[in-house]
């Protein structure tokens, strides 16, 4: 009933803390809002063997989509497709459709006067080398196309790491694929803020509300300072239609509010 999806982020810049992983956050939010469920995010370095073994592991787990982010460009450290090919036991080969997309991009750059002339260097051909059986996904902004591969009942999608390109390919090509797979699943969420009660005093209340509302996921986030404890509750659900999703969250929220107020807590809507 849910659509399990794994995200694999490739980039040493994420592992040395140079770059904050806003890509994973954006994708997680977008996928959740479409009714998908992100089951795992793995961040690894630009190393072919590491990418291959991570893809192999993900193929063994329960998920329908595996989305990789980063490492599709022309430089030596863009090794994602080589790693994905290795993980799926496929070979890399120049894909004609991808090569046409890339050539077209560079010819435009020449027309626009951004490049003097176009030469198909090995670094440019590299971006057209896809795992066998893969299809390129048009990149409306940059040069390197995205990639999609069907394998053993799963769909593997590779997106570039430049945020604007990742988002553009997702919205144009990946979103319709996921929507079709998710069917009518929709996600609904709401938050409340609670003051005047400590988190450990709220624990049995959450247990009860979760028990009485099995389809609603409730998470508490301590937000206040030491002197003034304040806790945010985030309630969310995925259901087959928006009305059902909204009604489930509304009922859990009402239960939660009643029990918290009985304990002397103050409740207000968050944000």
């Amino acid at each position: 009933m849910t659509l399990p999806i794994e995200i694999i982020c490739v980039g040493t810049e994420l592992l040395i803390g140079k770059t904050l992983n806003t890509n994973a956050n954006w994708l997680a939010k977008r996928i959740t809002s479409l009714g998908g469920r992100v089951t795992r995010i793995t961040v690894i370095s630009d190393d072919v063997d590491e990418i291959a073994s991570t893809v192999k592991e993900a193929m063994q787990r329960k998920n329908e989509f595996i989305i990789t982010v980063g490492g599709l460009g022309p430089t030596f450290d863009d090794k994602t497709l080589q790693g994905v090919a290795g993980g799926l036991d496929r070979k890399l080969a120049v894909n004609d459709e991808a090569l046409n997309m890339i050539e077209g991009k560079y010819r435009n750059y020449v027309e626009e006067g951004r490049m003097e002339k176009f030469v198909l260097t090995s670094h440019r051909i590299k971006m057209a080398q896809l795992p066998e059986g893969a299809k390129p996904l048009r990149n409306p902004i940059g040069t390197a196309p995205g990639v999609t591969i069907e394998c053993e009942g799963k769909t593997i999608i590779s997106l570039p790491g430049v945020p604007s390109e990742m988002k553009a390919i997702f919205e144009e090509t990946v979103l319709p694929i996921l929507k079709r797979a998710a069917g009518h699943l929709t996600f609904f969420e709401a938050s409340i803020q609670v003051a005047g009660v400590m988190e450990s005093e709220l624990a049995p209340i959450i247990d009860k509300v979760m028990h009485d509302n099995p389809y609603v996921y409730i998470k508490s986030h301590p937000k206040g300072t030491e002197r003034t404890p304040r806790i945010e509750f985030h309630l969310s659900t995925t259901a087959e239609n928006p009305d059902l999703a909204r009604e489930r969250v509304r009922r859990a929220l009402a239960n939660l509010r009643e029990l918290i107020e009985k304990k002397g807590g103050r409740v207000k809507a968050a944000r």
Copy 2:
């Protein structure tokens, strides 16, 4: 020569995109600056089996430390220690030192007038249930202590997910442990910005500089717009002493600058 460390972040809020994973970024930066090397970051849900299997997998890989973040609090969805215990095939048991720390915290809250009286509820005892053989790490800010366990030549450290508590325990207790393990390893980094050349034209240059400077890690990040391509290069290294680290990066930077300027590119220091 390097100190490989894995980070496991536990929290469904990260997988639904509600929370940006600033904890992983902060830890990655901090560990790297100490001479450690983050080899993988895995984000998973608050599910005991998922936590246990992720810890088990990490125990099989080459690393010396495994740091988990999140899920140490008193509520039903704080399941990290149960998962870690499962992953290491150990039992959970009330740890007297941890229980003393927690009781002390609540007695302070009563003295400060933040709580009327202290009752040792099951939710509070829960925070003192550590895997057998574990040691609690003092939490200077919140209630739930951090945890450290030695197992099969590795050290597993569990930190709370509240950023201020995670950072406080890291600085007070984890930093000295990592410094001792890292010995004299230090990290050095520098960035330059390049304009006037496209990334695919720079690819062979980077190949050459990386080849001639094997200890320096070079990563290119496209930063410009479509009309004005601009690329940032980030160079970094870990070495046994700060002078060697600085000299390695300086030499690679000089090589890079020379080759880029030959291609007509403009180079300036970044940030």
